[in-house]
């Protein structure tokens, strides 16, 4: 089910503002790739360009190539809606739909698309997704309650359940734990470990330990200089990046000497 992503020489713009420049990176299927780097270097921007969420912002565009299992993501005949069905996303701030119950939130992907489903099938999907996101035990007795009645950490896991319920091939996560307590964070890290059996996962994180714990590959992004666009400094095996990076800047960042 999982797919690999090949990005070559990608420039990402907000209007005339070049936010990220010249990114070339292979992302392997069925593995976890972590993006690290200081704030504002374009990690979120780059992540959003991987499922065509970037262009949702007025004036935003990209130049370059993104291949998903060999298909050009930005090809003329590619439907962004179909892309997003296959490449799911979890946002930094939990954003469950306030008008929907927990149950409906998990099924939002099909409900909002008005897909008909037998109640029994829907129940199966809800339970499977909530179990996958380690939330089932906590909410199984109140599935009819609104999604916004949960705590922040639970809401974030609900959003992950919602994202995996549509069975995407790739899951993009933008600092999914930045607003969470350590227990919710470790629940989500466990989840990432389980999910990578089936999915290709890309996670942005500010937490070095987290990157080291969950990822196989790590990519370090940095600003080329003040007022210059962000760029990919280096990418490689997480163990290598954390022990013996090629670039001086990477080492400095990881050891906390700047950023």
């Amino acid at each position: 089910m999982a797919k690999s992503i090949d990005v070559s020489d990608l420039d990402i713009y907000y209007g005339d503002f070049l936010a990220v420049e010249g990114v070339t990176i292979p992302i392997r299927a069925r593995s976890v790739t972590a993006f690290i780097g200081p704030s504002g270097c374009g990690k979120s921007t780059f992540l959003r360009s991987l499922n065509r969420m970037h262009e949702v912002i007025p004036g935003a565009r990209v130049e370059g190539k993104v291949l998903i299992d060999g298909q050009d993501l930005y090809g003329a005949d590619i439907d962004p809606v179909a892309v997003r069905r296959q490449i799911g996303m979890v946002f930094q701030r939990p954003n469950p739909f306030p008008t929907m119950s927990i149950y409906d939130n998990v099924l939002a992907g099909s409900k909002l698309n008005s897909k008909r489903m037998k109640k029994a099938d829907a129940d199966v999907i809800v339970e499977r997704s909530l179990r996958a996101s380690n939330l089932w035990v906590e909410v199984k007795d109140r599935l009819g309650k609104p999604g916004s009645s949960l705590s922040g950490g639970q809401q974030q896991r609900l959003c992950i359940a919602r994202a995996v319920a549509v069975e995407p091939q790739v899951l993009l996560m933008d600092e999914p734990c930045s607003a969470l307590d350590p227990i919710s964070t470790s629940a989500i890290e466990d989840l990432i470990h389980e999910l990578k059996e089936q999915y290709t996962i890309v996670i942005v994180t500010h937490n070095m330990q987290q990157a080291a714990r969950v990822s196989e590959e790590t990519a370090f992004f940095n600003l080329a200089g003040v007022g210059k666009p962000g760029r990919l400094v280096e990418v490689g095996q997480t163990t290598k990046i954390f022990s013996n990076p090629d670039e001086e800047a990477t080492e400095a960042y990881i050891q906390g000497r700047f950023g």
């Binding site: 296959q86 306030p98 939002a108 698309n113 309650k145 609104p146």
Partner: protein, 360 residues
Amino acid sequence: MSVDTSPRTTGPSGLGDGPSLKQPSLPRRTGTFTAVAAVLLALGFRALGFGWVPAVFLAWLVVVIVVPLWSTSVEGSRKAIDRLVTILVTSAFALAMVPLAQIMYTVVSNGASVMGIDFFTFSMRNVIGEGGGIYHAIWGTLLITLATTVMSVPIGVFTAIYLVEYGANNRLSGWIRFLVDVMTGIPSIVAGLFAYALFVVFFGPGVRMGFAGAVALAVLMIPVVVRSVEEMLKLVPNELREASYALGVPKWRTIVKVVLPTALAGIVTGVTLAIARVIGETAPLLITVGVSDSVNFNIFDGRMATLPVFAFNSIQSPGFPPGPSIDRAWGAALVLMIIVMLLNLVARLVSYVFSPKGER
């Protein structure tokens, strides 16, 4: 920085060993006492022979001067200013309530006398002098307002959706916003003349029909709907739209199934306020729908009575003796007010039922 955990007294400035945090203050219920004292003072001045307005003003003046002075001497200037501003704000509120209460009182006391089964079940057909009712005018108002709403809400909501979801900040949406603002300021008589002129083109001079009135009212209602719905849609967090897009939901479904339901409570309130805005319009209906004594359920043919025009006409040409007609005018005004109040209640109910779950 070393942490000092020993107990200490801190002054109001928070700088170590100053005076304690306790401060003298006026009795806890000073606010209530002030209000009571103000009322008693006003009654006192009245008893001394002042008129009502000077009595109330003098009482207010005494309170505004005495309470802050007393507070300054006991509590210090910060709390005194707090009390002064509280008094000013409260009296502004009270002042604003005066005309409202006065209107309610006048309408209820003048209109209550004609209330009765007959008043709601009879029209004015063949009625001279006493008796008769506003059955025909209630139906006219309800039908014309319904037609107005049916026209204005879709147009207004779709325009607002365009402005917020599609127009972003392009030039067209800038123009639409400008025109909507201009429309908001159109005097109702102009809307009436416009609708009349429009219908004359199709039906010839002298045309009168409920639908023409509905068109005139729609001209007044659409801008109000657009503006309030636009504000409501803007309040829907972008994160919800992005959450929906990220699940592979197309934009139009996102609008229909995420944005509109999230904003529904506010939209309903906005629409209700817009209806309340037009339901009492008189001038445009006088021109386009005219006056009638009988029931007419067909908004596409002929004159219809409506509550505001009925009230106007009953006062304007009361016949002889004028008494009963003027009473009926007040009665119609009271019914109009009750309808608007019921509308607001319904809107509250609807927005309660549809408000995002978890935020109740």
